[in-house]
């Protein structure tokens, strides 16, 4: 009986996994299929793999867009993590003043904003400031969302460290910045990893703002992927190849930090 239960559990888990893995697998298969097999009906699973699509994508502007995405997501994440950790630590340790909840809620409310609501003001602002179609603009805008997320997530982690550790360090003669850097920060390593993962994924995935606030130079990979939709139809093979190139680093990164992600999703309240 107990054995049957275990088997059923595995079957359910396998089913769920298949559901999520299938699109990725299909994407990869499409990327290595010869053009004719892409539309084959019924779908073929046995074909001569070709890397034609990849060589075409590697020569295209998609590589610049990939670089844009990496730079924008990377810098925005680093920036948000730095500011977010400082703010979260402040809220966690010194947040005993009046209306601190209002302030925290205001920070959270930045995330509730649907991007579409601010895209026009942002467009006008960026045009006015000559920042339209720059990586800098997207870095700043993504950071607004990422910082608010980082503050909330990291505050949960900082709240978990016993204050005695920092008190002990203060008593030993270390200044508050040293206490923060050498005692508090190393203790929230898991939190930093989680926050970094979420910020990176959010920034890499963002589509709407990137679509409307860039033109040529600062176009990011998700927008670039959409551009495979040409007037004569979608280049399925190249599209799949580009998407694969885009997705593989994210998958690898997620696998690396998967333990932290699970903890982060429970807001640091586990183990």
């Amino acid at each position: 009986m107990a054995r049957l239960k275990v088997i059923l559990k595995y079957v359910a888990a396998l089913g769920a996994t298949a559901l999520f893995v299938f699109p990725l697998a299909w994407m990869f298969l499409t990327s290595v299929k010869p053009r004719v097999d892409v539309f084959a009906k019924p779908p073929v699973f046995i074909f001569t793999p070709t890397f034609d699509n990849y060589s075409r994508v590697l020569d295209s502007e998609f590589m610049l867009q990939l670089l844009n995405s990496a730079i924008i997501a990377g810098i925005s994440t680093a920036f948000s993590l730095t500011l977010g950790a400082l703010a979260a630590y402040g809220f966690s340790r010194y947040g005993r003043f009046k209306r601190v909840d209002n302030l925290l809620f205001w920070i959270l409310s930045l995330r509730m904003l649907p991007p579409i609501a601010v895209v026009v003001p942002f467009y006008i602002l960026l045009r006015w400031a000559h920042l339209f179609d720059t990586r800098f603009a997207l870095i700043m805008i993504y950071s607004i969302f990422n910082i608010s997320f980082a503050v909330w997530l990291l505050k949960g982690f900082f709240d978990e460290i016993p204050p005695q550790l920092e008190e002990s360090a203060m008593l030993e003669g270390h200044s508050p910045p040293v206490v923060f850097l050498r005692v508090a920060l190393p203790m929230v390593r898991a939190g930093l990893a989680t926050t970094a993962a979420f910020c990176l994924i959010q920034s890499l995935n963002e589509f709407l703002l990137a679509l409307l606030l860039t033109d040529v130079d600062a176009v990011t990979a998700p927008v670039g992927l959409a551009n495979f939709q040409r007037y004569f139809g979608l280049e399925w093979g190249q599209f799949a190849a580009a998407a694969t190139i885009f997705v593989v680093p994210i998958i690898l990164f997620t696998v690396l930090v998967r333990h932290h992600l699970v903890r982060g999703m429970s807001f640091g309240r586990m183990g």
């Binding site: 016993p162 008190e167 002990s168 360090a169 030993e172 003669g173 200044s175």
Partner: protein
């Protein structure tokens, strides 16, 4: 002269005062224990001395220097925390080195200090372990070592033995006192465990509800408690306290309660009071209610009636190795007595009638309204 002086210290959390107007002098090289139930303000005092909470009023002087507003790190004070507060991301060596790094000390001297502390605590082999790889007792030793490595003249201890098992606690207690003596540091130790306080302290400060109830040597606190709270908080089992009245019966003065009486001066060998007299402070209580306190070990038991013995019913007996604690009913109250198990073999469990006596010289008397000690 690293003595610690607290002047009218008041500590508030929001509107509630955790400590109200406490003044205390901890002498140089003294082992001072702050004793009290949880929430009595003892830890708040320790945290104020360390600089983690700012007092609402009053001043703290360490070695003649006003440190009331000083940053914790500028007070030259070390502390051992109840949960040890070891840095989990550093090895034992790292935990020892971290305080020294704040002192701008050369590498060679730092290594030397770490070696000395490791030797003192016999943990040379553990220097490269992480705290999570150590047992509770070893972690506690690391906490002690980290507090000693800076050679601060003042050591604060916040329930440092609270997380150890009973056997280890007794061993560590002795080593704490030895280290404090050998290094000549001034120690302030916070605990709710009165046995720990009696064992360690040069002086005990008993606290309740943010105020000091008594300051004195362990002997003073145990043998001459200033008030009812101290009397009942210090000592196991807690002191028996029974209401009674001071009356005169012919030539004899008696403390008479429900089902018992105590002959005032009866067993006071060398008592100066002539028959028919009682000492003046007590005489004020003539025909008035008074509280009689008697420790379990001072209650006498006998199998047969005798002068000034009264009957008692044995309820439960708790053998404790060579001793036994007897719970018995006297009048309507439960009285606990402690004595030699073999001598008291007659006091068997289950409604046995025995005879008990409270020898007057061992009795503590308290005013029923102020709860203060009535001197005899």
């Amino acid at each position: 002269m690293p003595d610690i002086e607290l002047r009218d210290l008041t500590i508030k959390y929001g509107a509630t005062a955790a400590v109200s107007g406490v003044s205390l002098d901890v002498l140089d090289r003294e082992y001072c224990v702050l004793l009290g139930p949880s929430g009595c303000g003892k830890t708040s005092i320790l945290r104020a001395v360390a600089g983690f909470v700012a007092p609402a009023a009053g001043a703290i002087h360490i070695g003649g220097r006003d440190v009331t507003r000083l940053y914790p790190g500028d007070r030259d004070v070390a502390m051992i925390f109840q949960d040890y507060a070891l840095y989990p991301h550093m090895t034992v060596r790292g935990n020892f080195a971290f305080p020294l790094q704040a002192m701008k000390m050369g590498r060679a001297e730092r290594e030397q200090r770490i070696r000395e502390v490791a030797q003192l605590l016999r943990m040379e082999d553990l220097l490269d372990r992480y705290p999570r790889e150590l047992s509770g007792g070893q972690q506690q030793r690391v906490a002690v070592g980290r507090a000693l490595v800076r050679r601060c003249p003042v050591l604060l201890l916040d329930e440092p033995l609270g997380n150890l098992d009973a056997k280890l606690r007794v061993e560590t207690r002795a080593s704490l006192k030895r280290i404090q003596r050998d290094l000549g540091v001034t120690a302030v130790h916070v605990t709710h465990d009165q046995i720990e306080a009696l064992a360690l302290a040069d002086r005990i400060v008993v606290m309740e509800e943010g105020e000091i109830r008594q300051i004195g040597s362990p002997e003073q606190v145990y043998e001459r408690p200033d008030n009812l709270f101290v009397a009942q908080f210090v000592g196991t089992p807690a002191m028996n306290v029974l209401p009674c009245r001071l009356t005169r019966e012919g030539e004899r003065w008696l403390l008479a309660g429900a089902g018992f009486h105590v002959h005032v001066g009866s067993a006071a060998a060398g008592s100066t009071a002539a028959p028919g007299c009682v000492p003046p402070p007590l005489a004020n209580y003539r025909d008035r209610a008074i509280l009689l306190g008697i420790r379990a070990e001072h209650v006498r038991l006998a199998p047969a009636p005798g002068p000034d013995y009264f009957p008692a019913q044995v309820y439960v007996t708790e053998p404790q190795g060579s001793e036994v604690i007897v719970d018995m009913q006297v009048g309507g109250e439960i009285v606990r007595a402690r004595g030699d198990k073999e001598e008291w073999a007659f006091a068997a469990q289950g409604q046995t009638e025995v005879y008990a006596a409270f020898p007057f010289p061992r009795a503590h008397l308290f005013d029923p309204d102020t709860h203060r000690r009535v001197e005899v």
